[in-house]
Each structure stands twice: as structure tokens, then as C-alpha cells.
């Protein structure tokens, strides 16, 4: 098999996107400053966090171990951040190799959290010059639909804030690590919550679009990533791409981002609170509890909703009722936390392969003359086998 490459953004996608932007719309019906829906969920373990931003999905896990501190900073703990782009997320990501994208993302996340001193590293010290906690955040990108960075930064922060390390006591020379059952685990001290907020910039700063999707990211002139915390403090800023920007565009965008940062931080805090309450009440934990129904069910409703919105604005008629997706797949609950996605059987519709000649004036599809396309013995897979059922002996 040939190497899988990144799909090319076509000229017409680019042109259409620009046309959309000049009409002040976006491909997915969002407004320029609108972000995709954000969801933060926690797993059973401390520090295991799943964040979805639209269809971009990221899983983060914080872990800890005891290490010797760096000689330059003997009384500080160590924080490592590692983002993994595996081919699960997008076909052009190569496993195990440090691509440019992963270096860039990694450095931005490091700058956002480490350089701004969001995590109190001194509290991670067990004994100066000998033993400190080393926290490690592993971020796995599960699905890439644009704007990995925002999603990853939220996941990283939520994971760090959610994480608790086991308690350690010292009796003379020996260090004892207590299990979670023996002593309550200790949460990490976080001074402030810095999150990354990304904007795509088109046409030399004329259009600034929040939370870019994959297509938007691909055809944008530049991306501006702003790290911000709840106190309106900048914690890292990056302008990448090939745009030449006037300074006022950047300043305006930064002002816009402050509002968004507060919303995101609030979302992280509330979801941690909800999770903590669930833990104290001993409710079932883990990822499966929150998601009911198939992966597609929520998506379908969103698209339908957007579609209706567009229709309304176009026709300026408001009389249509929200259409119940009567023929939609059903969800059958099998057991606790389990459900199946059962597609509705459609016996009336015969799935046909054959493109027949028709009077349909809308289709500009060439009408193939052959009625059956099965007679294609040289195709890659669709072989035709003639099965001889007549027995030899009759």
C-alpha cells in the first residue's frame, strides 16, 4: 500500500470557504466567535480525563512516580507533558515519531502550563535533593477534526486538576507510600488555570474565526493561539502560519479570547465538582456512565438542527415543527451501561447498485449503459465467480 498522505484541501473548498466567510457564515453553521460544544468527562482513575470539542476528541491521563530532582532545581517536582499523535486520530499521523506538529503542540502546552507556573512544583517535593514527585501527563489524540490544541490543553488541565497522588510519609530514613485506601490521596496544587484558545486568521486578518475545524485549519493563513487564565493573564501566545498581520488584529483577538477562557475554566471546574460529588455519593464512575446511546445519535440531531436553522433563515418561515426523526436508529438498552445502536430495518427500499437511466434532470451523472457492473473481473476486489451448481454426474 502506498503511503497515506494528508488529504489535499481542494481549491474549491478554499474558495468556497472564503465565500462563506465573506457572507459571515461558516461551513458548520457556527458564527465566527462560536466554539464547538465542549464536553469534559472523567474516568474511574484519578487524572483520567476525556474531552471532546465537537468531533475532536482527546484523552489525557496523569500519572506520578518518585524521582530524583534536577540538580538545578533541587526542591521542585517535575512536570512532564507528552502529546501523542497516533494514526488513530488521522491517517497521516505516524506512530512513534516526533513530527513537527507534535513538537509544536508539546512546546505550546509546556509553555502554557510550565512556564506560567500554573502547577505548584514545590509542593511536589518530598525531600530536597533526593526525592520529588514527577507528574506526567500523557495526552492521546483520539480523533482529529481540527483544533487539537484547545482540546488537548483543556484535557491536560482537567486531568491535572482531577489527579490525586498518594500520600507519602517519612519515618527517619524510610519513605512510605500509602495506598488510596489507607490515606486520602492529595490533590495537586494549581495556582491558576491556563487554557489555550485558538483562532484561525484568513485574508491577512480580515476574518478571525474561533475554534477552527479541519478544513478551516488547512486553508487558514495563520493560527493564533492564546494561552489565558481566569485572571485575564496571558500565559503563552503563538502566532504561526504564513500571514503577515497588523498588530491591532492580534490585540483585538486577545481581548475576545478572555471571555472564552473564563467559560472554559468554569466548565472544567464544574465538571470536576460534579465528578467529586459522584465519587462521594459512590455513584458508578467511568466513561460509560455518561454516554447513553450510540455515538451517532447526538451528531444526527445537531446536523438536523443546523439544517433547519438555515432553512428558516432562507425562507423566513417559522411554521415548521421540529421533525422527529421517526426513522432514526433505535437504541436498545441491554444492561447497565450498555446499549446497542439498532438501525431501523427498511424493507421497502431496495438498495441498488445500478445507476439506471432516469428522467431526473437534476443529476448530471453520466448514465452508464451497462446494467450490471458486476461483470468486472479485473477489479481489485469485486470478483465475479461463476458457481456451477450442476453436478457432474447428472
Amino acid at each position: 500500500m502506498s503511503r497515506i498522505r494528508e488529504t489535499v484541501i481542494t481549491n474549491c473548498e478554499r474558495k468556497f470557504l472564503m465565500k462563506c466567510l465573506s457572507d459571515w457564515t461558516r461551513l458548520d453553521g457556527r458564527s465566527f466567535d462560536e466554539f464547538r460544544p465542549l464536553r469534559v468527562e472523567f474516568g474511574k482513575d484519578w487524572g483520567s480525563c476525556y474531552v471532546s470539542l465537537g468531533k475532536t476528541r482527546v484523552l489525557a491521563q496523569t500519572s506520578c512516580e518518585i524521582q530524583q530532582p534536577k540538580s538545578s532545581r533541587p526542591s521542585e517536582g517535575i512536570l512532564n507533558i507528552n502529546i501523542e499523535l497516533n494514526p488513530l486520530a488521522a491517517p497521516h499521523f505516524e506512530p512513534g515519531r516526533q513530527s513537527e506538529l507534535s513538537v509544536r503542540l508539546n512546546r505550546l502546552l509546556e509553555k502554557c502550563v510550565k512556564d506560567s507556573k500554573a502547577v505548584d512544583l514545590e509542593s511536589l517535593c518530598i525531600k530536597t535533593n533526593e526525592k520529588v514527585w514527577a507528574l506526567r501527563v500523557d495526552i492521546n489524540v483520539i480523533n482529529h477534526e481540527g483544533n487539537i490544541l484547545d482540546c488537548a490543553s483543556i484535557a491536560m488541565l482537567a486531568s491535572l486538576a482531577h489527579f490525586r497522588r498518594p500520600d507519602v510519609t517519612c519515618d527517619g530514613e524510610e519513605f512510605i507510600i500509602h495506598s488510596y485506601q489507607q490515606r486520602d490521596p492529595i490533590p495537586t496544587v494549581i495556582h491558576h488555570y491556563p487554557v489555550c484558545i485558538t483562532y484561525s486568521i484568513f485574508n491577512g486578518g480580515e476574518f478571525v474565526v474561533a475554534d477552527p475545524s479541519l478544513t478551516e485549519e488547512g486553508s487558514a493563513d495563520a493560527t493564533l493561539t492564546i494561552g489565558l487564565n481566569g485572571f485575564k493573564e496571558l500565559c503563552g501566545l503563538h502566532l504561526g502560519g504564513k500571514a503577515e498581520l497588523m498588530p491591532h488584529v492580534i490585540l483585538n483577538t486577545v481581548t475576545k479570547a478572555t471571555h472564552r477562557a473564563n467559560i472554559v475554566i468554569e466548565e472544567i471546574k464544574t465538571s470536576i465538582k460534579i465528578d467529586n460529588e459522584a465519587r462521594t455519593k459512590k455513584l458508578p464512575l467511568g466513561f460509560h456512565t455518561e454516554r447513553k446511546g450510540g455515538a451517532n445519535s447526538d451528531v444526527s440531531e445537531i446536523s438536523l438542527h443546523h439544517w433547519q436553522e438555515i432553512k428558516k433563515s432562507k425562507k423566513k418561515k417559522n411554521k415548521q415543527k421540529p421533525v422527529e426523526p421517526t426513522e432514526s436508529p433505535q437504541i436498545k438498552v441491554i444492561g447497565e451501561g450498555l446499549a446497542v445502536h439498532v438501525p431501523q430495518e427498511k424493507p421497502d427500499r431496495q438498495e441498488s447498485w445500478i445507476v439506471d437511466s432516469s428522467d431526473d434532470d437534476l443529476m448530471i451523472v453520466e448514465k452508464p449503459r451497462e446494467q450490471i457492473l458486476l461483470h468486472d473481473s479485473d477489479s481489485e476486489e469485486e470478483n465475479v465467480i461463476i458457481l456451477d451448481s450442476s453436478q457432474r454426474n447428472d
Binding site: 513538537v103 509544536r104 485575564k232 496571558l234 501566545l237 498588530p247
Partner: protein
């Protein structure tokens, strides 16, 4: 913020005796090597950089990288193992160097008229001999000079400069290593100084959003100042080269 006070004394002098809006001394020379198509040496304070440019030439190595409508700019940043206080284990390949390489490429691609050389490649090699803060901006400035020496068409100079914020109020220009260590945010800007357009911007640590504007303006001012210094160097270099062929005297 008690540490921050030391960045700028009461009479407005910095640790190395500069004023807040003063650049470090920049000394530079074009055409220091014979082998590359263009080369330059630049000193910014104690930071010393060598830059060499090859190309434009045919795309080497991975042919599929070639672009049908523009030249590929390939940048390699490396730091000599003796350039820092602690001996570096390897000159390149770690995340920070890779990041600088990426950023260098971004800034230079914005300045070079790449569309003139489809299917070709321009190599820029940058070596840090002595690191004393503001490595990235010094690299950009040195690479610009090397590109000019190589005669590669540029839209205009691309200059980079850092700026910081002292005492949570006063913006400072061109941060040295000492000031980096003490703390305080660093904003790095690479810009096309004539049109005032920003091609790359980056910052670390934190400061309040309201200060961004003045720090950014200060950094841009620094870029413009650097441009004047580079201008002088280029002018004298051109005259030097010209005098040997004789045409400089005819005008």
C-alpha cells in the same frame, strides 16, 4: 513579584546598565564564509550566531516535499555544545531546537519571495556559538543578513526582537540571559519592520492582557531599530564588494 523589582533599578537602569528601551550592541558581518552562497555573523550582546545559506537549488532528499508553486525553505538550527554554561549533550534534535527551527522557517518563509522558485529548496543553517539570551531573534537577524548576502529576493527584511515587562509596568527591550533567568515574561516578535506586519509572535510566562499592547509596540520598535543597524551593515558590505569590482566608485 519581589524578584521582578531587580529587573529595573529606581533610576531606570537594567542589570547590565542599559536603559529599558535600549538594545544590546549589535555587530554583524556579511560574507564570512566562501563556500556557502551566503553567510553572515551576528553578535547581539554576548549572543553570537553564524548563519549560512545555500540555494535555491533542486530539492534534495525527500523529493515529494517539493512544492509546485513555491520554494521549500529548510532551516536547521543548532547550538554548539560549548555555547551554554552547562555543556550541551547534543547540538540539535531536542524539542526546543526543533521548535526554533520551525519558527525560523516560518519567519523566513514569510520574508522570502518563495513563489519565484517553484520545485526548489533554500537551505538555511544557523549555529549558535554563544548563547546569552534572545537566541531566536538573533538567529532571525543573522539569517536575514545571510539571505541578503546570498542574493535571494526578499519582500523586505525580517527582524526579530524580544520584549519584557519590568515592575509589571515598564516594557523592556532585548532581554539578556540574566534577565530571562530572573523571570518576567518574554514576548518574541518577528516582523517585517517597514510594513509593520507581524509574521511570528510567541510569548512565555505570564502578564496581564492589558499590558500586551505596550510590550508588543516596544518589541516592534526594537525590530525597526534592528533594521536600521542591519541596513548599515548591508550598505557597507555592498560597498566593500562593489569596490573590488570597481562599480561602487562610478556612482
Amino acid at each position: 513579584m519581589s524578584k521582578n523589582r531587580e529587573l529595573l533599578s529606581k533610576i531606570g537602569l537594567r542589570l547590565d546598565g542599559r536603559r529599558a528601551d535600549e538594545l544590546r550592541r549589535i555587530r554583524c558581518k556579511l560574507g564570512v564564509f566562501t563556500e556557502p552562497d551566503g553567510s553572515a555573523y551576528l553578535e547581539q550582546g554576548l549572543t553570537k550566531i553564524l548563519a549560512a545559506v545555500y540555494g535555491p537549488h533542486q530539492v534534495r532528499g525527500n523529493r515529494s516535499k517539493a512544492q509546485h508553486d513555491a520554494a521549500v525553505v529548510n532551516c536547521q538550527f543548532s547550538m554548539a555544545v560549548f555555547s551554554t554554561g552547562e555543556r550541551k549533550r547534543r547540538p540539535r534534535g531536542d524539542r526546543k531546537s526543533t521548535e526554533i527551527s520551525i519558527h525560523l522557517r516560518q519567519a523566513l518563509t514569510a520574508a522570502i519571495k518563495t513563489e519565484l522558485y517553484p520545485w526548489s529548496q533554500i537551505d538555511v543553517y544557523v549555529e549558535v556559538l554563544h548563547a546569552d539570551g534572545g537566541i531566536y531573534p538573533a538567529c532571525v537577524n543573522a539569517a536575514t543578513l545571510a539571505l541578503i548576502d546570498a542574493g535571494i529576493p526578499l519582500k523586505e527584511y525580517v527582524c526579530a526582537c524580544t520584549a519584557s515587562l519590568a515592575n509589571n509596568d515598564v516594557p523592556m527591550l532585548d532581554i539578556s540571559h540574566q534577565e530571562e533567568i530572573i523571570g518576567g515574561p518574554t514576548l518574541t516578535v518577528a516582523a517585517l519592520p517597514m510594513s509593520g506586519k507581524i509574521v511570528l509572535m510567541e510569548m512565555s510566562q505570564r502578564f496581564h492582557v492589558d499590558h500586551l499592547q505596550k510590550v508588543l509596540e516596544k518589541a516592534l520598535q526594537g525590530c525597526r531599530d534592528i533594521k536600521h543597524i542591519l541596513d548599515e551593515a548591508v550598505k557597507s558590505h555592498i560597498q566593500d564588494v562593489g569596490s573590488s569590482t570597481g562599480w561602487a566608485n562610478t556612482t
